[in-house]
Each structure stands twice: as structure tokens, then as C-alpha cells.
Assembly symmetry: C2
């Protein structure tokens, strides 16, 4: 089934201990869409500026991503500049220029309105809820957010949370949103706010999935080298939602497999700068690494 | 088979967000021995002072631990005072009084000399090697160390590493010892120093086991409340080594199960202050949580 993502498209400049890249195509919706495109058809709602070229557009086209909802506005595309040091678990933002993203008002094309699988990327929760309310046919809505909204727009965010099925956040965000240090308690508190399932991302330490009465933990994939962690969380979300959309199976065992597919896609993404590795994947590589996750975690009882 | 541990016995004073405990029995060898005692007979080599009472000794006796090698020296027992805040992943040491531990020179009783499974707790690597060389019949020697020795006695530590089978360290120690940020590279570098297997402990994020050509990752057990993380790493080591000693099976699949038993024991240890929870375990509880780890990590391929 088709999967709709609403979020940012950006130009990133990234410096890590292993090199740097300047003004490369990035943004949450981009990483999400490219990752998910390996599993299911994807539709994007985002905004870009006049500096967004045919060449940039061709990246989406090369993955068969529907860009009917990619709005072109007067001005420049969102730009982010960041740096990773040490264990690279956290980005240090050096510069953010929101540009056209500052006034992003997501418009859902008529051809998207029947979308059943929807991912609301990290934007103002008021806009997230507005998008969600325009989509009457959803089977699963995933949500991302960040500290900025938890701190500044908590009431709006709570309304949005009440209208979604899965929240995907990192540990710090789960703690801040719930007011609980303990992640099991944090997840339980968030589930009471609306989402049936909570996915807590722990960077290189893996991911935990909290559903009603069950917890699943997947480790991070052990990589020899992480070149660039940018977009790993969004790539995870793309793999997670992509697997659910392609299978249409929302059972708990399939949510677990979705977590592993998310982890697989994210593990590829960080191997190289930007989208490079994600763009030249093969379905065989994805399946092989899925099985490697089994080898990584299996023990006999 | 009997399992020998050499390390510290201490009196701990601990403060966490959930309470505090003063001058309770602790120390690496104590946590290790009590944990392992649920799986296999244990022998201890350690030193205590004149303030170590019959009541303290009875804790070891209650778990059937052989204390022939528990030396009583003039002076006071090692005392440690620490505090955990926030996510409790790291202890802040408030005070350390080495006391009799400062001049600890491990003496191996004749009745211990045939020990096949040995754990060299975190002491001066020169002493660790000295102990190791007195034990000609070992099938598996595990080693712990810390930043202090990596920084201050690296050459001695390298000699000790060359004479052991498994190194158990936390992430920071693995990085410092190898000079590699990436944990997969760090483990590979450490394996070249001697130990066939490297166990990297990640606190609440779980444990990774690096063996020749294979990696196994187990998550942390999701607990509603961690009262006191003191001794978790030593308890893990006790469960890990205890399972290997009781089974005598050093195959890679059994090393994986040993990692899970270590994680099981550690997850119990942190539920309450000090040794309380470990002392009133049952074999049934241990087996039940071992199966819960399977539920926690299983997904269908």
C-alpha cells in the first residue's frame, strides 16, 4: 500500500570524523521516502525553494517516489549545517536556515487523500494534526516530534498524540515528554496519551518497541565504520513504516519485523555520507542484512 | 565445575534517586560470587578487615560460597561511597577508602589450585597475571579491568590480556584500551591483544559479545524501576562465568546463553539496593527471566 510522508526536504552540510559533505540533499522526508521506497510506493508532502533543481527532483524520481505534494515556494530550501564528534551519537547544529520551511503549510493533493499509511515528520504539532484530520482512511499513523515542540507546544502536541497510532522518538524525547527517567515507565505514560505503540530509538544501541503488554528490543547493527549518522532516525522510520505498508499486517509480530527493517535501512544509511548508500541498495542486500539481525540476536533456549 | 573469583569485598554507601544505603556489603568479588552461586559452586580470593563480622561472612555461607581464600588483615575493609543521578548510567564516586585492599596480595589456597574457571576481578594487572600463572588447569579465564589501569599500567595489562580468554569491559574502557571509537573495531583490536572473546557492557543498553567471526547483542532487560545499579557489571560477570562453569560448554552458542544469564542476574541485582534481591532469588525466577529475554528479542524471519 502507498505510504504518505509529510516533513522536511533540506540541503545539509555535514562534518564527521570521517569527512564532510556540503549542501547535499537531505531532510527527514527525503531520508524517510528513499528508505521506504525500497519496500512500498511512497508519496511526499514537503516544500522546497527555487534552488531545488531538476537534478534534486530526479533523486526522488529515481526511486519512484510520488512528488505531486512537493511544493515549490519562492525563496531558498531549508538548510542545515551540523557536526558529529567522538561516538557520533549526537549532532551539534552549527547553523539552521529554515527558509521556505519556516512557513510550510502542508497541502495534501487530492490523489493522496485515500492514504492508509501516514508518517507525520517532525514539524509543528498543529500542522501535524491538521494533516492527520484531512486523511479519513488511515490504518496507521506514525508521528515524530522533538524537544523543541515538547518544550514549546506541549498542549498542541498532546492533541496530536491522541490522534496517532505510533510515536517514534529518541530516549531523551521520551523522557522529556513523559517526565519519567525510566524508559519503561516513559513508554507507558506516552501510551496513555494516545499512541498504542511507542518506538524508542537509542542510536547505536538499537531500538525498543513498546506495545500493549509487550516489549521488543533490537540492537544496533555493528558497523565497522559509521561515516555519517545524519538521517538515521528518519531512515529507520521509513523502513519501519515501509514494511508495515507493504505487508498491511499490523500484528505485534509484524511490528517487530518492521523494527528490524527500520534498523536494517538505518544501518545502511550511516555507512556513507548523505543518501549515497540508500540510493544504491538492492532488495537482496536488505534481505541479507535482515537475516544478519537474526544471527546477531539469536540464542537457543 | 567450581568457579574461582579474585577481587574486592567492600562496604558500600550508595545514594540513588530512589533511596540510600549505608555501609552495606558489596565489592566486585561479592556481587560476582553471589550471582554465580545460583549456577555453580564458587570460591573467593579477597581480603577483608577487622570490621568484617561473622554476620557478613554468613552472607557468603548462605550461598555456599567457599571462603577459604578470604583473608582477614589488620585494618579496615575497603569502603566506597557513591551516588547515581538521572539515568543512573554512571556512578559518581564520593569517597574511596582502600584500607586493607590497598595492599591486597591474592593468595591462592591449595584447595583452589585446580580451578578450571577463573575470574580475575578489577585489581592491579600485575596481581591478576600473578594469580593466573598459579593456576595451571584453567579452561576459561575471564578478566575485568578499568580506566585507571589502562591509563597507568598499560604494559602490565597487555601482558595479562595475553594470558586470558575473555575480557569483560564497558564501552568506554573498550574504546580507551583499543584507541578506537568504533566498538566493532575496538573489539577486534582487543582480540589481537589476547582474549578470544570480548564482552562489551553497555549498562541499560545491554551487552555485546565479540567472538572469532561472530557478534551477539543482547538488550538490557526493561525494568520498571532500577533502585541501585551498584555491582551490575560484576553480577553480569558472575552470571556469565557461572553458566559457563556449570555447563562446561565453551561453544559460541553457549557463550551467547552465558551472556543472557549474565544479563538476567544483573537485571535482578539492580531491582533493590545492594545484594538484597540477589540473595532471595530462586532458580525458577532465573529461568523465567531467561525465557523473558527470548520473548524480548525474538522476531520471525
Amino acid at each position: 500500500m502507498s505510504l504518505l510522508v509529510v516533513g522536511s526536504v533540506a540541503f545539509d552540510s555535514v562534518r564527521t570524523p570521517h569527512g564532510h559533505a556540503d549542501s547535499i540533499l537531505g531532510g527527514a522526508a527525503t531520508y524517510f521516502a528513499v528508505a521506504a521506497s525500497w519496500l512500498t510506493p511512497v508519496r511526499v508532502v514537503a516544500v522546497v525553494g527555487e534552488d531545488f533543481s531538476e537534478q534534486h527532483l530526479s533523486v526522488f524520481a529515481s526511486r519512484g517516489i510520488d512528488t505531486t505534494g512537493l511544493e515549490r515556494a519562492a525563496g531558498k530550501t531549508f538548510r542545515w549545517q551540523g557536526q558529529y564528534v567522538g561516538d557520533m551519537n549526537e549532532a551539534r547544529t552549527l547553523d539552521t536556515q529554515l527558509n521556505v520551511f519556516e512557513r510550510f503549510a502542508p497541502k495534501i493533493p487530492a490523489s493522496y487523500l485515500a492514504s492508509e499509511y501516514v508518517f507525520l515528520g517532525n514539524i509543528d504539532p498543529v500542522l501535524q494534526l491538521h494533516v492527520r484530520e484531512q486523511l479519513p482512511s488511515t490504518r496507521l499513523v506514525g508521528l515524530d516530534t522533538m524537544n523543541y515542540w515538547i518544550r514549546g507546544k506541549l498542549e498542541a502536541l498532546k492533541k496530536t498524540l491522541a490522534a496517532v497510532d505510533v510515536l517514534l522518538v529518541n530516549e531523551g524525547e521520551a523522557r522529556m515528554l513523559s517526565g519519567e527517567w525510566n524508559l519503561t515507565k516513559a513508554a507507558a505514560a506516552i501510551q496513555k496519551m494516545g499512541p498504542r505503540s511507542v518506538v524508542v530509538k537509542r542510536g547505536e544501541h538499537g531500538v525498543s518497541l513498546f506495545t500493549a503488554g509487550s516489549i521488543f528490543s533490537a540492537p544496533g547493527y555493528p558497523l565497522d565504520q559509521v561515516q555519517d549518522p545524519t538521517g538515521a532516525g528518519d531512515t529507520f522510520a521509513g523502513g519501519f513504516m515501509g514494511h508495515l505498508a507493504r505487508t498491511g499486517d499490523l500484528s505485534e509480530p509484524n511490528l517487530r519485523r518492521a523494527v528490524v527493517y527500520g534498523s536494517v535501512l538505518a544501518s545502511f544509511a550511516v555507512e556513507e555520507f548523505g543518501l549515497s548508500r540508500l540510493l544504491r541498495l538492492t532488495p537482496q542486500e536488505i534481505e541479507a542484512r535482515f537475516r544478519e539481525f537474526k544471527t546477531l540476536t539469536h540464542f537457543d533456549v
